[in-house]
Amino acid sequence: MQLILSTAGSYPRIGDAPDLQRHRRAYAQRERGEISAGEFTKVEDEVVAGVIREQIEAGMEIVTDGLVRWYDPYSHFCRGLEGASINGLLRLFDTNLYFRQPVVKGPIRRKASVILPEYEFARSVSPRPVKPVLTGPYTLARGSILEGGYRSTHELALAYALVLAGEVRELSRAGAQLIQIDEPAIVRHPEDLNVLEAALAVVGRERGAARLLLHISFGDVAPLYRDLQALPVDALGLDFTYSPKLPALIADLGSVKPLALGLIDARNTKLETKESVFPVLDAVLPALKTGPTYLMPSCGLEFLPRARARLKLETLKRLRDDYLGGRS
């Protein structure tokens, strides 16, 4: 049985120790005009390299760049789009993280690659595979203020899908094997599954040899689980922390797609134990018809202090090894 360890996206960019506050200091210096954009990028590069190193030391087999360069999951994609601007702060789902809301006033068009250069840098400093992460078209559309150019969230989602398809095409050509698409907004709007499906089909057409992992967090995914199996993606990433019924549901229905199991709570500091994780693995793993299976935190780790984020990953590694060891 193969259980591959991976992070789910973001990683804390600073820690409590002074030597881990470099990014915060440089950010403030950049805002005050004391360092150049190039100097700030250099600091970001170093922080990305450190974040990747930390994930690998903790045992991750597929890493991300920690989304260190993202202001937030929305404005990072929309800031450079023709037809969009960035508005005030809004709470990100039920977290204490705030994002800047995109405002769409006219047809949106990508002016430059967003994720490709970030992916290429991360790959250059990582001895392990890097998984690029994109915020999905439906979630971008749901989080945007629509003031023109499109008649509905549905239309806007398809427009974002065209933008993201360009990102996926470039990432696939550059060698990305697994690309994660985050679509947390669908949990709160299951009535829009057809919109999500149409948008993902547009994105998916450009994936080439890469596989698309649809990741859903920040809500109970159980009511959607059956429908998710039919979406045009290659694997599903599921946040288990909101879904007490999910293990039994998967055990009952199985899965025709490989799953990424978000068993480690990335929103709380409490560390998982064998008692909390093994019964879920016992229920779910026999029902999976195809692999590989990934083990992940429930969502990005930047909701935790840095030291605890690392400890969570080390816990994930130890639990995986113990689980497999107990069955060998």
């Binding site: 600073i14 820690g15 915060r24 950010y27 403030a28 709470r91 909701f303 935790l304 840095r306 030291a307």
Partner: protein, 333 residues
């Protein structure tokens, strides 16, 4: 209708009572002193003297503006959850987590049984009330929000943590009432974030306030109210304070369908905007409320704490609000 309850408590208020949500900006002198204190350049006593001076400033400012129910302005508090977490037993200061951009904060961690340490806000309330003849609200953060904005290393689950907090926060409510507070606001800005948890958020507030003799207000920032309304009417408080200035007032459309059964504080000033609203705008916002509720059940306030505005902006916004309310009182009388 809870005007009767206020009368029983000995509180007389005019039509469309005006108040604020809790925090006022730190005065420039106090802001500077807090920085110095963090750098250990001044003593705790020096800081506290300036906190009192700033509180006096805000009490006088509220009286001059003409507000009906005053607040202490929270000049001695930083974050609305961390303030209590730093005082209560069972909490530790957590590591840094990002809030947005380059802003980080220390998120508290529940590491043991939470415990009321004795009065946390009562002396401030008592002293502030001694400065004015107008009623001063007791101001607390509710159990659900304290739970949601903390990490939980100790309790089995979120509900257990929330109910434990509710039992301890009740002791602070009792102490405020014992000191003479008649109106107590228990803020629950997190209450709409997880619809499925609303039942235990309501249960927790019952634990905190049931059978206690005060007029209770709960403030909730604008969130997904359409998902928890009308269930949120089960919250055992007399007045729900809702942020509506920035939401095209669509809540009131919802109220037309499912009648609102409590007093309503209409948050009519946008605290996230520098712009000073005109009295005409404010009147229009209040009238949206008065069209679906009798004016006797409507209070008027900003849509959140004013601490992110400047002193001048806060005063100007409140002055515009009072101008609007005075005109409406005449028109509605």
């Amino acid at each position: 209708m809870n005007g009767q309850k206020l009368k029983r408590l000995g509180v007389e208020l005019p039509l469309l009572p005006t108040s604020t949500v809790g925090s006022f900006p730190k005065t420039p002198e106090l802001a500077e002193a807090r920085t110095k204190y963090a750098r250990k350049q001044i003593t705790r006593a020096q800081l506290e003297a300036l906190e009192k001076k700033a509180t006096e400033f805000w009490i006088h400012a509220q009286e001059e503006i003409g507000l009906d129910v005053l607040v202490d302005g929270e000049q001695y508090r930083g974050d609305m959850v961390a303030y209590f977490a730093e005082l209560m037993g069972g909490f530790q200061t957590g590591g840094l987590v990002r809030s947005y951009g380059n802003r980080y904060y220390h998120k508290p961690v529940i590491v043991g049984e939470v415990k009321w340490p004795g009065p946390m806000t009562v002396e401030w309330w008592r002293w502030t009330q001694s400065l004015t003849r107008k009623p001063v609200k007791g101001m607390l953060t509710g159990p659900y929000t304290v739970m949601d904005w903390s990490f939980n290393d100790y309790y089995r689950d979120r509900k257990s943590a929330c109910l434990a907090l509710a039992r301890e926060i009740r002791k602070e409510v009792e102490a405020l009432i014992e000191a003479g507070a008649k109106i107590i606001q228990i803020d629950e800005p997190a209450i709409s974030v997880r619809q499925e948890e609303l039942p235990f958020a309501i249960e927790a507030l019952h634990v905190t306030v049931d059978d206690l003799p005060a007029y209770f207000i709960t403030h909730a920032c604008y969130g997904a109210f359409e998902t928890i309304y009308p269930d949120m009417l089960e919250l055992p408080v007399d007045n729900l304070d809702l942020a509506i200035s920035n939401s095209a007032l669509d809540l009131l459309t919802i109220f037309e369908k499912d009648p609102f059964t409590k007093d309503l504080s209409l948050g009519v000033l946008d605290v996230h905007s520098h712009r000073i609203e005109t009295p005409a705008e404010i009147k229009a916002r209040v009238m949206r409320g008065v069209r679906v509720l009798p004016p006797e059940r409507v209070w008027v306030d900003p849509d959140c704490g004013l601490k992110t505005r400047t002193v001048q902006e806060s005063q100007s916004k409140l002055e515009a609000m009072l101008t609007a309310v005075r005109e409406l009182r005449t028109e509605l009388a």
